[in-house]
Amino acid sequence: MSGDRARIDYALRLGDDALVLGQRLGEWCGHAPMLEVDLGLANIALDLIGQAQHFLAHAGALEGHGRDADKLAFRRDVLDFKNCLLVEQPNGDFAQTIARQALFSTWHELMLQRLQGSSDTAIAAVAQKAVKEVAYHASFAREWVVRLGDGTAESRQRMVDGLDWMWRFVDELFAMDLVDQAMAEAGVGVDKSTLRPEWDHLIDAMLAEATLERPAPRRGVMGGREGRHSEHLGHMLSEMQFLQRAYPDAVW
């Protein structure tokens, strides 16, 4: 694999994670359990869409074929999306959304902390801004896990179910493939496997405060980074990309 291709993929992965999760969270807008939560989720979605714009613009510039962030967001099909499977999972109930957010944002914050020192100055610059946003996402989500876990019997059961549902997508966050290895060696990316102990520690602390058990270990489902996604992503893209697909010549 050429270093250029790996670097483009790396930027796409970062951008697609943010874009796909931002898109999912936007679905809550106007429908959340309370107004303050509605605003909180919209805020997180907004941060993520902003991060996606930067990472995808960078990927397009590295690629050098004149594709900007919008072209990459709205004109690629499922096989070319590089996000992890966790972020494309449907919102489910609020507990499932919060489980997804807590697991992802905790990882995302650790990633961005490291990426602030990336030798790719564009990635480093985005990470420096985004890490502050994501620290808020992570604490928002972990606080809700605690509230729901240590709330009522119903909220506890839903939180247990939500974490259980999302847990099989955790291992993928830390998996290292050729792209990751090349980028870690070049100082562009992160050796994600080294993030796991800290992630485990943060998640265990959250679970303890929420009076919840850690979900039982299971075989991780993977493939998102290479474009092998769940069935959900295609539906999301068909909705998200509708206008750009239906009116390819239009400027909006």
Binding site: E27, G30, P33, A45, L243, Q244, Y247, A250
Partner: protein, 331 residues
């Protein structure tokens, strides 16, 4: 926009109940209002003033919240990342407006839960405009341009309304509404100068939203029996028809500037009055929508009620958790 008093029928004045309030207090209150002083939550105020304000502010708050739905309908389909971010931020602003307004109304002694309950039971009204569907992306432009534009007309004078918390909420809200209006107009501008399909969507959106936007200012003055009282109390500062005229005069040239046609054959400039003459509004439709018979009124209310009911367990959990924490802190 949302501030017009909505009643189910045209011009049926309510029976006046003789005031049993202390005439001296009443006189002092009226004098303060007439002198453009702000009334604050702890100040004495006539019961009818309090009731009218709760109704008006909560109606305004509900409109902000229900108003998140028609635009929220396009967040997942916004055509570019920038447009998506701008729309998300806009809808989030509207939710924030709802929050400040509920907080302002709560200073009058009615809880947010009571107000939400009144909305869901159909007792409280919200702006008629949000009972129309958003069918194409141009509707997002039209709403920003026309609906937020109308909101500004209505709300700018309310920055000087007599009730302090309401006036202060309006100062924050108005800043954001002008932003929304510009962003909406920018969407329309892009589409009106775009492909033939885009231009068609833009014109169609104007056709569908024009008349409902004019209705946002409420019934004509002769059928607006509470206007005089509200103006004396400085809860309202201009009449419905004055504001509507101002809106038409500002908006018509904006439509012309981007090559769109206002869907009113009777629209023409009247040199003598220095404003536009315009066609008759379909008041029957207006009152039908006020009664809850708007095209997507059922869907809007169902979406709000479902969100509230589906979220009940979350709100209960938050309360239960807070109670456990407090108990642990006390132990």
């Amino acid at each position: 926009m949302y501030t017009t008093e909505l009643q189910n029928q045209a011009g049926k004045p309510k029976a006046q109940v003789a005031s049993t309030e202390d005439p001296a207090l009443l006189e002092a209150f009226e004098a303060r209002v007439a002198a453009d002083e702000f009334i604050e939550p702890k100040d004495w105020m006539p019961e009818a003033y309090r009731r009218t304000l709760v109704r008006q502010i909560s109606q305004h708050a509900h409109s902000e919240i229900v108003g998140m739905l028609p635009e929220g309908n396009w967040i997942s389909r916004a055509p570019t990342l920038r447009r998506k971010a701008v729309l998300l931020a806009k809808v989030q602003d509207e939710g924030g407006h709802g929050l400040y307004l509920y907080a302002a109304a709560e200073t009058l002694g009615t809880s947010r839960d009571e107000m939400v309950e009144a909305l869901h039971s159909g007792k409280a009204k919200y702006s008629t405009i949000f009972n129309y569907p958003t069918l194409t992306w141009a509707d997002i432009g039209a709403i920003g341009w026309l609906v937020d534009g109308a909101a500004i007309m209505n709300q700018v004078p309310l920055q000087r309304t007599s009730y302090g918390p309401y006036a202060r909420a309006m100062v924050r809200v108005c800043k954001e509404e002008s932003f929304h209006q510009r962003q909406g107009y920018e969407i329309m501008m892009a589409m009106a100068s775009g492909t033939p399909e885009q231009k068609r969507m833009a014109q169609d959106a104007l056709n569908r939203w024009w008349w409902p936007s004019l209705m946002m200012f409420g019934p004509p003055d002769e059928n607006s029996p509470n206007t005089a009282q509200s103006m004396r109390w400085r809860i309202k500062r201009d009449t419905n028809d004055e504001l509507r005229q101002k809106f038409v005069d500002v908006t018509v040239p904006q439509a012309e500037a981007i090559g769109l046609t206002v869907p009113d054959p009777d629209l023409k400039w009247n040199e003598a009055k220095g404003g536009h003459d315009f066609g008759e509004i379909d008041w029957e439709e207006f009152y039908a929508v006020v009664r809850g018979e708007g095209p997507v009124a059922k869907e809007r209310m169902k979406a709000r009620i479902d969100a509230w009911n589906d979220g009940a367990w979350v709100r209960e959990a938050a309360l239960a958790h807070a109670a456990k924490r407090n108990a642990r802190a006390a132990a």
